[in-house]
Symmetry: C3
C-alpha cells in the first residue's frame, strides 16, 4: 500500500546525468519508472514500459527531448505522446506512455506518483542538499530489503541509537531517555529534543579529550512517505540554551534521508550528512557520511530480520507496544490517514465500520 499523491525521491541529481545513453530505471511505489535528462537539463520521468508490448524503455535511447524505445523504434516525447512509429504513418491515440511530474530540489529528483493535477511542489520536504553552499553535504545510497513502514518506525524512534548504533552513531543511554516532543502535521511529524551531558557519537569520540561532554540538539522533520531531515547540533555541555547560542556551537550539521519504497519488500535509501561551512573541518563531513554507511548496515540487518518474521507470522507477532512506539505511531497514523483518503469509497466505508 502506497500513498499515490506524494513526492517520492528518485535519487540524486548526479544519478541522471547528461551522458549519451543514461536512462535510469527505478522501481517506485510498485511502478517501473525511467528517468532521463533532456538537453536543457530538465529531468523526465516516464513509466518504464513501452505501451506496445511492455519492453523496458530504459533499454532505449535519448533522441533530443524524446526517448526512443529500442525494440521497435517508437519515439515518445517528453509529455509521453508517441510521435513516431517506424514503418507506420498513423499513430493511434493509445500510443502514449504515462509521465510523472518531476521536480529537482536540493540535488534530489522528486517524482509525483499520483494525479498530476495535484502535484504541488510546495509539498516537497525541506532539505539541505550537496548543492547548498553553506553546508558541506556528502551523499550515499543503499537498498534495504524490508517494507518501508519498518523504516518509518526505525527513524521515528531515536531510542534505537542507544542499542542498534551503540558503536557507531550512539554510545549512551540518553537517547533512550530523551523524551522527544512530536508535533504532528498533515503530511508528517516534527520532533525536537536535547540529549545533554553526553559524549559525542561513538564514531567521533577519538577527536575529543576523553570525558569531554556535550549537549546534542536534534530537530527532525519527517514527512511521508519516509523522508527524514535531521538538523543535528553539538554544543559544549552546559553552554547551549534553547535559543540561538552559536558561540558554544562545536558542530552544526544536516542529515537528509529519503527512503523510497520500491515495492512492499524493499526500499531505496538516499541519504546524506554534512557540516556547516562554519563548523566544518577537513575530512569531517566525509567522516559523517561514512558513519551513516556503517550505521545503516546495522539497521539493515535488523529490519530485514524483522520483515522476514513479520511476513511469516503477520501483525499478531507484534505482541506488545512500548513507549518508543509513540513517535512511529504518529507518522504511521499520518500515513494511514492519507492512504485511507485515497482508497475507493467502498473501502473507506468498510474501514470506518470496523
Amino acid at each position: 500500500m502506497f500513498v499515490k499523491n506524494a513526492w517520492y525521491c528518485a535519487g540524486w541529481d548526479y544519478d541522471v546525468s547528461q551522458g549519451k545513453n543514461v536512462l535510469v530505471s527505478r522501481l517506485i511505489a510498485g511502478e517501473h519508472v525511467v528517468l532521463y535528462r533532456k538537453p536543457d537539463g530538465v529531468v523526465v520521468a516516464m513509466e518504464d514500459r513501452c505501451p506496445h508490448r511492455q519492453a523496458p524503455l530504459s533499454l532505449g535511447r535519448k533522441e533530443g527531448d524524446s526517448l526512443r524505445c529500442l525494440y521497435h523504434g517508437m519515439i515518445f516525447a517528453a509529455d509521453g505522446q508517441c510521435t513516431e512509429i517506424p514503418g507506420q504513418s498513423v499513430i493511434p491515440p493509445a500510443a502514449c506512455v504515462r509521465v510523472f511530474p518531476v521536480v529537482e530540489k536540493d540535488s534530489w529528483i522528486w517524482v509525483w506518483m499520483g494525479d498530476p493535477a495535484k502535484a504541488d511542489p510546495s509539498l516537497i520536504c525541506f532539505s539541505v542538499g550537496p548543492d547548498n553552499r553553506d553546508w558541506n553535504i556528502k551523499t550515499s545510497h543503499m537498498q534495504v530489503n524490508a517494507n518501508y513502514r519498518l523504516e518509518i518506525a526505525n527513524l521515528m524512534d531515536l531510542s534505537h541509537l542507544t542499542w542498534v548504533h551503540r558503536t557507531s552513531l550512539g554510545g549512551t543511554m540518553k537517547y533512550t531517555e530523551a523524551g522527544a516532543k512530536h508535533e504532528i502535521n498533515a503530511r508528517g511529524v516534527d520532533t525536537k529534543f536535547w540529549v545533554r551531558q553526553v559524549p559525542v557519537p561513538f564514531f567521533s569520540q577519538h577527536l575529543f579529550p576523553e570525558g569531554t561532554l556535550f549537549d546534542l540538539h536534534f530537530h527532525v522533520e519527517m514527512t511521508i512517505p519516509c523522508n527524514f531531515i535531521l538538523h543535528f547540533r553539538v554544543f559544549l555541555a552546559g553552554t547551549a540554551t534553547e535559543g540561538p547560542s552559536d558561540g558554544q556551537l562545536v558542530l552544526d550539521t544536516y542529515s537528509c534521508q529519503a527512503i523510497t519504497p520500491r515495492d512492499e519488500d524493499s526500499v531505496d535509501y538516499y541519504y546524506s550528512w554534512g557540516a556547516s561551512r562554519e563548523t566544518d573541518s577537513p575530512g569531517m563531513s566525509d567522516m559523517l557520511r561514512e558513519a551513516l554507511d556503517v550505521a545503516f548496515l546495522e539497521d539493515k540487518e535488523i529490519l530485514e530480520g524483522q520483515w522476514q518474521r513479520l511476513k511469516q507470522r503477520g501483525p499478531e507477532g507484534n505482541k506488545v507496544n512500548i513507549i518508543h512506539d509513540t513517535g512511529p505511531g504518529k507518522l504511521l497514523h499520518v500515513l494511514d490517514t492519507l492512504l485511507k483518503a485515497e482508497a475507493p469509497p467502498a473501502a473507506r466505508q468498510k474501514s470506518a465500520a470496523q
Copy 2:
C-alpha cells in the same frame, strides 16, 4: 500453455553423446525429460522422474539399452517398462515410465510431447544442420528467462533488426520498411522479403569497402512451437533478381533456430548460422555464429524485461498494436488454434462462446 502434439527440440546431437554416464536432463514444455543414447546410437527420451518416488532418472546410469535409477536400482527399458526391481521378484504394471517419441534430424534431437500415435516425423521442420556437407553450419545455445510467446513475437518481426540489433545484425532502417509477405500454413508461417541497397549487417561491414551496397534476401520458415529457419542471401546491389542469380551471390547462408519452452518463464534456445561451402571463406561461418551470440544477448535483455513487466501488469499493459505485430500475430494465431484444438471439449465450447 503448451501445444502437446508437437516436436520440441531437445538440443544438439552432440549434447547426448555415447559417454558412459551421459544422461541429459531437460525441462521441455513443463515436463522433466531425461535423454540418453543407446549403444546402437538411438536416443531415448523418458520422463526424468522415477515412478517409485520421483527421483531424477538423470542421476542414474545407462545399462545396455536401459536406464537404471540409482536410488533403488530399478531398471527401465527403452520402452519405459520396468524390467528389474532389485530385491523383489514381481514387477507391478504401474512400474513404468513415460517415454517420448524421438527423431534425430539435421543434428537436432526432436521429442514429441503429446500422443505418441500422432507423432508424425514429417511434421518436423526443415532445417540445415552442421552435418550437412554443403553448408558450414556453426552451433550454439542460450537460455532466456522469458515466455516463449515473446520469442515468437520477436522472431516473426524482422523490424527489430533496425533497433535491437543496430550494432550487430542490423544497421539500417530498411528492415523496418521491408514489408515482408507472410504465408500462413497449418503449423507455421512462411515469410519472404528483400532488403535492397543496404550495407551488409553491421558486424561484417569491416570486410567490404566503405559504401558498398548489397541486396539481402530473407526467407523465413517458422513453425510452432518456435522454430525459425532463415535462408539469408547477400547479393551485390542491383544484380539480384527474384529468380536464381547465383552469379552475383556474395554469401549464401542458413541460420536455424529452435526455441524450446522449458516452462512458462524460460526457454532453451538452440541456434546456428553458417555459409554454403561455395560462398564460405575461412573464419566466415565462425563470425556468423559469434554475431548471433552477441545479438541474442541483446534480445535476451529486452525479452526478460518485457516478461517481468507482463507478469506484473498482465496483458492490459499491451495498450497499442502496431504494423509490426502482423507477423507475430499470424504465428501466435496458428499456435492458439492448435492450443484450442487440444483443449478439453468444455474449454473449447466456452472459448467459442466468447
Copy 3:
C-alpha cells in the same frame, strides 16, 4: 506438518559456545529459535523474535543469564520474561517471549517444540556422542533442501547403499537383499540385519587385502522426527555369531545422525561416525566421518531432485510401491500417528472418516 511434542536436535554443543556474543539462530520445525549459553553453561532456547516488533533476538547480546534485544534494549530473562524496557518503568505482561525446554545430551542440544509440560527427557533418543570416552566420534553438519519425510524414507531403506552409495558407503548388492527386520515402537523403529560375505564399504577397501570378506552387522534405532542411530560392526567373514563375538570383531562403530526439519523445504543434518577406542586406529575415525560427508552429498542430490519433482506433481507422481518401502512406511506411519494425535479434534474426525 511437524510433530510439536518432540525433541529436535538444534546442533552440536560446540555450536553454542560461551563466546561473548555467540547467539545462534536456528529454524526448527518452522519456528525461529535463538540459542545461547548462560554463564553457568546451561543452554537457553527462545523464540528468535522480539515480542515488540519481531526483531531477531539473535542480533542481540547476552547479559548475565539474560538476552538483551539490541533494537530497543528490552531484556528477557532465561524464562522468557521481560525484565527491563529502557525508558519505561512498567513492563506489560505480554512482554515475554516463548522459551523452549532444552536438554544437552551426548554433545547434542535438544529442544522441545511443543507443550513444555510434556517435555520428558527420557524421550530423547539414545546416542553415542563425541564426549563418550569409549568411542572416538567425529562430527559434521550439512543442510539439505528437501522435506524431512524424504530423509526418513532414505534412512529407513538401507537398500539405497547399493545404488546411491555404490562408490562410498556401499559397494555390493547384498544391502538390497539384506531383508532387515523392523520392530515398531511408540516413537520409532528398531532395525537389525546382517550383510554377510562382503567386502568392507567401498571407501575403506584399500585397507584390506583384495578379496577379504567380512560379515557386517547393522543395528539402527530410528526415532521421530528423524533421528538415526547406527551401531555398525565389522567381523571377519564367518566368525561372527548372533551373540557376542568380539574376538573376531575388526571394527566396532557408532554413527549418530539427527535430521531436524527447518521448514517444509529444508533440513539441518547433524551427524557423526567413529570407532570404539578398542578397535580404532590413527586416522580411522576421521576417515569414517569423511565418508559420510561424501555420501550425504550423494543423497542430497537425489533428495533435492525428488523434492522438486514432488512439489511439481504432488503425491500422484509416486505411482508404484516396492519392497523397500516397508521400512520407510513403518516410521512414516509412526510419524503420521503422532501428527494425527496432535491435530485438532475436527481434523482428526475428518481424517478418520476418509
